[in-house]
């Protein structure tokens, strides 16, 4: 589905589901590639997380959507901002996996923020994309926290 | 003072060539005698060096060397220098020689030593007990007499303290530490 022809909220949800499925497949591939057990474990967790998101979206109650709006403050450690972009085929180790995941979540956040700007005139879509952006933002933050706790243990 | 002590040491060494004389500490001279010479040495000191006063007779139990050591503490009122006359005696079946004829007060000290250390004095066979009463055990001041074990056996302890614990064994029991035999002599107790 192309971003241009999103007209309704259902289509937008469909679009988001597709993104989650892509991510799921990507992590599935990484599980196969990874040699490091720690990295493997991480990718399994990430895949399960994406699958969970997909399910959440599939069973999403459109009308009760606003109540789910996450108002929690999300702070920014800016770790992902300066990490190197990793290509999927290069990723082997745990650290690279985390870097990839953090970058992905950040890019997803930027992407949804952009979409929210684009569909500013359509209140339903704007709302949806804003929430999605916020959601991805908190995922990025989660990844950064993990990065901070494991890779940056001595930093 | 130190000059006079040195003078004393010198004259003692000359007068009593069979004894070793040393200055032990400020104001004290140590004289080591053999058992055979002891009475003669003490009489000589009393008559010729003015040691008219016997302050005390004390006894040291050298368990490892299997010996008793008697220390006669003498005092000279004129020179005010203390003199320790030491003599080593056999711990088993040994005996000292009484000096009651030189100093009557020696009687008490000798009886005390005879009772507390089980060291008899030839010439002082006083049959009466001095301090102890009906004592039928090893002489109590001997080092191989375990006063703690005797007291535990002879006298009753108030109960209620049996739940006491040892810190070391609590800690090692908790951590699973096994203390090797070589370390046990160094464990606190």
């Amino acid at each position: 589905m192309n971003t241009d022809n999103i007209q309704s909220l259902e289509q937008a949800i469909q679009f988001a589901i597709e993104r989650e499925t892509e991510a799921e497949q990507m992590y599935q591939k990484l599980i196969r590639l990874a040699e490091d057990p720690k990295a493997k474990e991480l990718f399994q967790e990430l895949r399960d997380m994406e699958a969970q998101h997909r399910q959440n979206l599939q069973t999403l109650d459109v009308t009760g959507f606003k109540e789910k709006h996450n108002q929690e403050r999300v702070y920014n450690m800016h770790i992902a901002d300066y990490l190197i972009d990793k290509k999927i085929d290069d990723v082997r180790t745990y650290q690279e996996g985390l870097m990839l995941a953090a970058r992905r979540e950040q890019m997803a956040y930027q992407y949804y923020s952009l979409l929210a700007e684009i569909y500013r005139d359509n209140p339903g879509l704007f709302e949806f994309f804003s929430v999605m952006a916020r959601e991805e933002r908190s995922h990025q933050n989660d990844m950064e926290k993990v990065y901070d706790e494991t890779v940056f243990l001595y930093n | 003072m130190s000059d006079r002590i040195q003078d004393l040491q010198k004259s003692l060494s000359e007068g009593l060539p069979q004894c070793s004389v040393e200055i032990r500490r400020h104001g004290g001279v140590e004289l080591i005698s053999s058992k055979e010479n002891l009475v003669g040495v003490l009489a000589y000191l009393r008559e010729h060096f003015g040691y008219r006063h016997l302050s005390h007779i004390s006894c040291v139990d050298w368990l490892e060397q299997n010996q008793f050591e008697l220390v006669y503490i003498l005092w000279n009122y004129e020179s005010r220098i203390q003199l320790f006359v030491k003599v080593r005696l056999a711990r088993v079946n040994g005996s000292g020689i009484s000096v009651r004829h030189l100093w009557p007060q020696a009687d008490t000290y000798e009886r005390e030593i005879a009772e507390m250390y089980g060291l008899p004095f030839d010439g002082n066979e006083n049959p009466r007990e001095l301090i102890l009463e009906d004592w039928d055990n090893k002489p109590p001041m001997r080092r191989d007499f375990d006063t703690r074990a005797y007291s535990k056996e002879a006298f009753y302890d108030r109960p209620g303290r049996e739940d006491a614990k040892d810190v070391r064994s609590v800690i090692s029991g908790r951590s699973g530490e096994e203390i090797p035999e070589i370390a046990i002599p160094y464990t606190r107790k």
Partner: protein
């Protein structure tokens, strides 16, 4: 006879006294004030007390027992506390207050309360603090560190001056002389609280007591009972024992590490160690054990299994044994010959080491598995995490672990004159201090505050004395290159600290726009390491349980594959040598049980 009125009336003078107040103390209607430091009944601050039992030991009357106030207290107590508390038999106590004088935590004191009468003789058994919960209101004789029977000040360790240090790789710490060691050992109260927090549970009070008695050979034997690299630990241990030392509560803890160093250094070479320790080597039992990695855990397993009659072989990828303690710790902290000597001793009791044998290259894991009854994996965390920012792959951007390894292997590393080290752990400090010795100006960039640094404070102090600049709350953003693929500098941003609402350590948050560039020649990353499990075949990897990158083992270091045991950094989170030794020591028992149960 003459009558004298005066004589008759004189006795009446006594009436003058009638109006005077008697000087009798009207006890019990008026209380008598006691002296300022009067020694009455005991009071114990149960919270401050750690149950070290020093009061009980010093009591000449055996009046003090250590007891559990509630059943099970000693099992449930936290490390650093025996869970026991003193109970005083007032039928023994004679109020000499020695117990108060030697109380290291200062919890025990005497009160002004002395007036106690009872018809029940058993009521004189007091548990201070429980029997008199309000005793803290009437304290009089309290413990005072300024005049105490305990010595709260540590015998200072002689060290090289900061300026001298950076001239060479000479050992910074000079060690105790005999008299100093005896004096320091004499401070120990022998309570054994420390043995529990030591991962290996070394017999600390015993060997300190042996040192105090001048019997260093016994001390060495006691140390070697459960730690085969005692000398290394004496130099570089993280010494959790000193953190719980009761004397540390109000003064300086016993220098346990320096005392261990003093004793073990008395054995100058492997033969002397062998002669002193004179281990009881059991006859060969025909069982073979293969060990991967000659680090502290592998060496421990090998040594104790060899003593028990096992045929032990270590496979080590590098040219020398010791693992991270050989290649990760700079020479000024742990001279190379010190470790060599210990390894040589281990070889003399029958430990076989195959050097330059990387499992997965020179020999396969399956082969080792096939040839041995049990396998122990102790490979450690050798692969560094990268800095993960742009420009990290430029020339002269290196990793601290590799850098230290090369320096210890006497290779030349060109670090130039300006160096930045990224990280705040012990590895980062080591890299910085080594760079300083190579003549460079060194800056440490750390994302958090100095108090958050995981490195030992002594190391941080040492680095500062040697002129290392520590820039905290500095987040590296990217490495600047000079256009020809070399490092030119590092761009970093300042951070503010944000408290973690879930109670974790505070996190640095980048202040946008507050950026600086530090020009340098070399950048050294020291942010952390991980393990390389690539040598383990996939099918075994499947079976061995992993949890966040570490191998899951039972209490005997056994993995879910029964004949495979593991220990060291790849199992525990503490990442220090002493925990690795502890893992090895546990694995020895596990392997023995496993092989003989078969």
């Amino acid at each position: 006879m003459e009558f004298s009125l005066k004589g008759m009336l004189n006795p009446l003078l006594a009436l003058q006294q009638a109006g005077k107040r008697p000087h009798t103390i009207q006890f019990p209607f008026e209380e008598k004030k006691v002296a300022e430091r009067y020694r009455g009944l005991h009071f114990n601050d149960l919270e401050a007390c750690i149950g070290c039992g020093t009061c009980s030991t010093i009591c000449q009357n055996e009046a003090i027992d250590m007891v559990e106030i509630n059943p099970g207290d000693s099992e449930n107590a936290k490390p650093g506390d025996s869970g026991l508390r003193p109970r005083v038999d007032n039928g023994r106590c004679c109020w000499c207050a020695l117990c108060v004088e030697v109380c290291p935590s200062g919890s025990l004191s005497l009160t002004t309360h002395y007036n106690y009468v009872s018809e029940d003789a058993n009521s004189f058994l007091w548990t201070p603090g429980v029997s008199n919960p309000d005793g803290h209101k009437e304290l009089s004789f309290v413990s005072d560190t300024s005049h105490s029977l305990l010595d709260y000040a540590r015998v200072p360790m002689r060290e090289l001056e900061g300026k001298e240090r950076i001239k060479s790789f000479a050992e910074v710490v000079l060690g105790y002389a005999d008299e100093e060691a005896k004096k320091e050992a004499a401070r120990c109260i022998g309570c054994s609280i420390c043995t529990e927090v030591c991962p290996v549970h070394m017999h600390i009070p015993e060997y300190i007591s042996a040192i105090e008695h001048g019997n260093n050979e016994d001390a060495i034997r006691i140390i070697y009972d459960n730690n085969p690299i005692g000398e290394t630990c004496g130099k570089v241990c993280t010494r959790r024992c000193e953190e719980v030392c009761p004397l540390g509560a109000r003064g300086e803890a016993i220098a346990i590490r320096w005392l261990k160093r003093y004793a073990t250094e008395k054995a100058e070479n492997a033969e002397i160690i062998r002669e002193i320790v004179n281990p009881d080597i059991k006859p060969p039992n025909g069982k073979k054990v293969g060990i991967i990695g000659a680090g502290p855990s592998g060496l421990t397993v090998a040594y104790y299994l060899a003593l028990r009659g096992f045929d032990v072989t270590i496979y080590e990828a590098k040219a020398k044994a010791g693992g991270m303690i050989m290649y990760g710790i700079p020479k000024y902290r742990l001279p190379l010959d010190s470790l060599d000597k210990q390894v040589e001793y281990m070889q003399s009791v029958g430990v076989k080491i195959h050097f330059n044998t990387k499992v997965g290259e020179q020999i396969s894991f399956t082969e080792i598995e096939k040839n041995h009854d049990a396998v122990f994996i102790g490979i450690g965390y050798e692969v560094p995490y990268t800095i993960g920012i742009d420009g990290e792959n430029l020339e002269n951007s290196i990793q601290a672990v590799n850098f230290l390894r090369d320096i210890n292997a006497d290779k030349h590393v060109d670090i130039g004159n300006r160096v930045a080290v990224i990280g705040g752990g012990n590895v980062a400090i080591d890299a910085a201090r080594v760079s300083r010795r190579l003549g460079a100006e060194v800056t440490i960039l750390y994302r958090r505050r100095e108090e958050d640094m995981p490195a030992d404070w002594e190391e941080i102090e040492g680095a500062k004395h040697e002129g290392v600049i520590i820039k905290t709350q500095a987040i590296p953003l990217n490495v600047v290159d000079d256009g020809s693929g070399r490092v030119k500098g590092i761009r970093y941003g300042n951070a503010r600290m944000v408290t973690d609402e879930k109670g974790g350590r505070p996190r640095p948050e980048l202040i946008e726009g507050d950026e600086h560039i530090l020009e340098l020649y070399t950048i050294i990353g020291a942010i952390g390491q991980e393990a390389d499990y690539s040598f383990i075949p996939e099918d075994i990897k499947e079976k061995i349980g992993f949890k966040s990158g570490r191998i899951v083992t039972n209490e005997w270091q056994q993995t879910s594959v029964p004949h495979i045991f593991a220990g060291g950094d790849i199992v525990n989170r503490t990442a220090d040598a002493i925990s690795a030794v502890a893992d090895g020591y546990k694995a020895v028992k596990g392997i023995e049980q496993f092989i003989f149960a078969k």
